[in-house]
Amino acid sequence: MNIDLNSIWFSLVGVLFAGYAILDGFDLGVGALHLFTRTDEERRILINSIGPVWDGNEVWLVTGGGALFAAFPMVYATAFSGFYLAMMFLLFALIFRAVAIEFRSKQPHKWWRQMWDISFSISSMVSGLLIGVALGNIARGIPLDAQFEYGGGFFNLLNPYAVIVGLTTVALFMMHGAIYLVLKTEGALHERIRGWVNNAIILFVIFYIATTMATLLYIPHMMEYIKSHPILFVVAFLNMLAIANIPREIHLRYDRRAFLSSCASILALLTLFGIGMYPYMIYSLPNPEHSLTIYNAASSQKTLQIMLIIAAMGMPLALTYTIAIYRIFRGKVKLEPTSY
């Protein structure tokens, strides 16, 4: 990897999306698990476990999107217009999710709360699935023409590889969300969720193996960079270590460490994805010469420089707020009059 501005921005956009996956990942996961709870109080505890933080988490997606637009406008333009309907569905899912969280507990009627419980849960799963499917397609390669325009339609996006990556993402978020809930709950609910974690880990590992095998067998270009830089196999090794560590920590009841392991495994997974892609940003299949790379898709060097200054000023502040908020709202969920 050459240390040039393009590579730095490739990493920074990656950091923003990794931040999104780690943070919104657990709250999408909580949403996906929502319907497994039984009583209204349990459901309120689940929603309030993410209550103060979910929209801050979503800001990572918004900022990631903005950074992609600024640093690699060609990727932003090609992916967002090419995946038009998928993007629209993602937007609708995110809107429904936000609204469901906000509105669910505002009325006592059973049908009202059930309606929002279902939309919260489904929209959380759909969001994770669509994000995963998009990543799967970007990795596998999509048909781009000489103007870097996508020419594949909506249903081509639902190929088996992309769908497996999508399901892996949902399973990953469910595992991550379950571990987060272990941290935020107490009593009988806490013990039940502890059981979910084990199931979620098994589900995730199955999909994880499937994705890894499919990538090794069918997506050879994802392996090129790592083959030529064998030292990077360390990341793959750390990834497996982080995943294997989760059930161990859960068993030992070191819940915080289990959560940190889960965060680490998401970070490692996305790092592997980045290494596999580098220096491509959207791989073009069947014409790899039409791929978007960190060079032909980037903004000017001057803009990348200005943006780097903006990021250097803004990101430490953003991290400080994020950490402060998580510290202030740490501990088990207690339902209060201001809760959802």
Partner: protein, 449 residues
């Protein structure tokens, strides 16, 4: 229907819906800072009750603002990808800066504002309120920079030709402080303060009319009325400054505002009218001769560039722009009148007893909402046929891979979802207003109870 029209309709629908909410959170933000600051300074529990009530309303508004805001950020890429490629180097930077500098601040501290009452000290809570209000104001800065650059591009050069041509930054500060940024920002801020102030006035006047929560309502009205008077009067200054700048930067838009056709002649100001675009005249329009020239140049006999200086295909749709601009100005004048009458009644000590005026305040909440929408309509339609003024035509900014069928699908879905969302919003807002401020909030609570 063709792709261009559909994509423009979708953008108009989604931005108009979104723009109901951010001005309210900017305006309410500043009012919350004043209320909570007063509480900390005086220790009067009434102000705690006010802060807590308006914070709840703020939370509801903010949630829909976020949900509808993500749509906007995606839509440049989904529907206007050619535009995105063309301007990404410049425009994308402003959007990214908005996320980094404003959204993290706003969403982070909002958590404390809404849920942190018992978790942080009152001073930290107040600090969070200030940060949320600042964040709301910061986000306006960057989005206005991006929009203003589309209107009056500066600090860039065009690199490449044909399909690969795009704008790249040459001078970042020229881009940020392009000729219309400051006028547009101040005009937008004041519009947002008006939205927040008249919203508080409306709800509080409703309580007075229903003889409920009277102390709460009176104290809220006093704070909001001061903001309303200030912001409404400032709109004269910022509006005037915006229009004068237009004479230099976007003469076709200014000419469309007043349906001024002659290529170069002293221009009148119409009070109202109907533009006959075929015959290039204004029907039924009482006018003040030379007044536009006077406003722009300080001299009623100086010429103003008219629409005939531009070939017909480079003119904005005149009547739409004329009507929305004039309606905005009329609403602005109406709001000034309402605000000043309120000030007068306050001085005469009949503010809280004059029922017809309280009813006028209840309805006044619509004024800034309509004014803000019409103002943007004038600014954006007035820029047509360009998406980036004089550089890129709107028709050339579309996504090439998206079909009209796809846009119809998403447009219909947005339409249904937004109607549903808006109905929910009004329903829940009404619930909160009917429920009113909580009596419990009048008891001063120690933090970390």
């Amino acid at each position: 229907m063709d792709l261009l029209l559909l994509s423009r309709l979708q953008f108009a629908l989604t931005i108009a819906f979104h723009y109901i909410f951010p001005p309210l959170s900017i305006g309410l933000g500043i009012i919350l800072v004043i209320m909570e600051g007063t509480y900390l300074k005086t220790g009067n529990p009434l102000y705690q009750q006010m802060t807590r009530f308006w914070v709840k309303i703020f939370g509801l508004i903010f949630a829909i603002g976020v949900a509808s805001g993500i749509v906007m950020e995606f839509q440049f890429g989904t529907n206007w990808s050619t535009y995105s490629r063309y301007v990404g180097d410049v425009f994308g930077s402003a959007l990214a800066a908005e996320g980094i500098f404003a959204f993290f601040l706003e969403s982070g501290f909002l958590a404390i504002l809404l849920f942190g009452w018992n978790r942080v000290s009152p001073k930290w809570h107040f600090f969070s309120t200030i940060m949320v209000a600042l964040g709301a104001h910061f986000s306006a800065i960057w989005i206005i920079v991006a929009n203003s650059w589309q209107q009056t591009p500066a600090g860039y050069h065009i690199v490449g030709e044909g399909l690969s041509a795009r704008a790249e930054i040459v001078d970042f500060w020229q881009l940020v402080f392009n000729p219309s940024t400051i006028d547009r920002l101040t005009h937008t801020y004041m519009g947002a303060w008006q939205a927040g102030a008249f919203f508080v006035l409306s709800v509080s006047a409703f309580y007075l009319l229903k003889k409920k929560y009277q102390d709460f309502a009176k104290a809220s009205i006093k704070i909001a009325l001061i903001i309303a008077v200030f912001a409404s009067l400032m709109q004269l200054v910022t509006g005037h400054s915006s229009a004068s700048t237009l004479a230099d930067t976007q003469p076709a838009k200014l000419a469309a505002f007043e349906a001024h056709y002659p290529e170069s002649a002293p221009a009148p100001l119409y009070l109202f009218g109907w533009v006959d675009e075929d015959n290039e005249t204004v029907i039924l329009g009482p006018k003040i001769p030379g007044f536009l020239s006077y406003l722009v140049h300080g001299d009623a006999s100086k010429p103003v560039t008219g629409l005939r200086a531009f070939s017909p295909d480079k003119r904005p749709p005149v009547n739409v722009v004329f009507q929305s601009y004039h309606a905005m100005v009329a609403i602005g004048m109406g709001l000034i009148a309402i605000a000043l009458i309120g000030l007068f009644f306050w001085w005469r000590k009949i503010l809280f007893e004059t029922r017809w005026y309280l009813w006028a305040l209840v309805l006044s909440v619509l004024g800034p909402q309509l004014g803000n929408q019409l103002g943007w309509l004038s600014a954006e339609v007035g820029r047509q046929p360009y998406i980036v003024y004089n550089l890129l035509l709107t028709a050339d900014g579309l996504s090439k891979t998206v079909t009209a069928g796809e846009v119809i699908t998403s447009l219909i879905l947005f339409g249904i979802i937004y109607i549903f969302l808006f109905a929910l919003f009004i329903y829940l807002l009404n619930e909160k207003i009917q429920h009113g401020p909580s009596e419990e909030d009048l008891i001063i609570k120690g933090h970390r109870a």
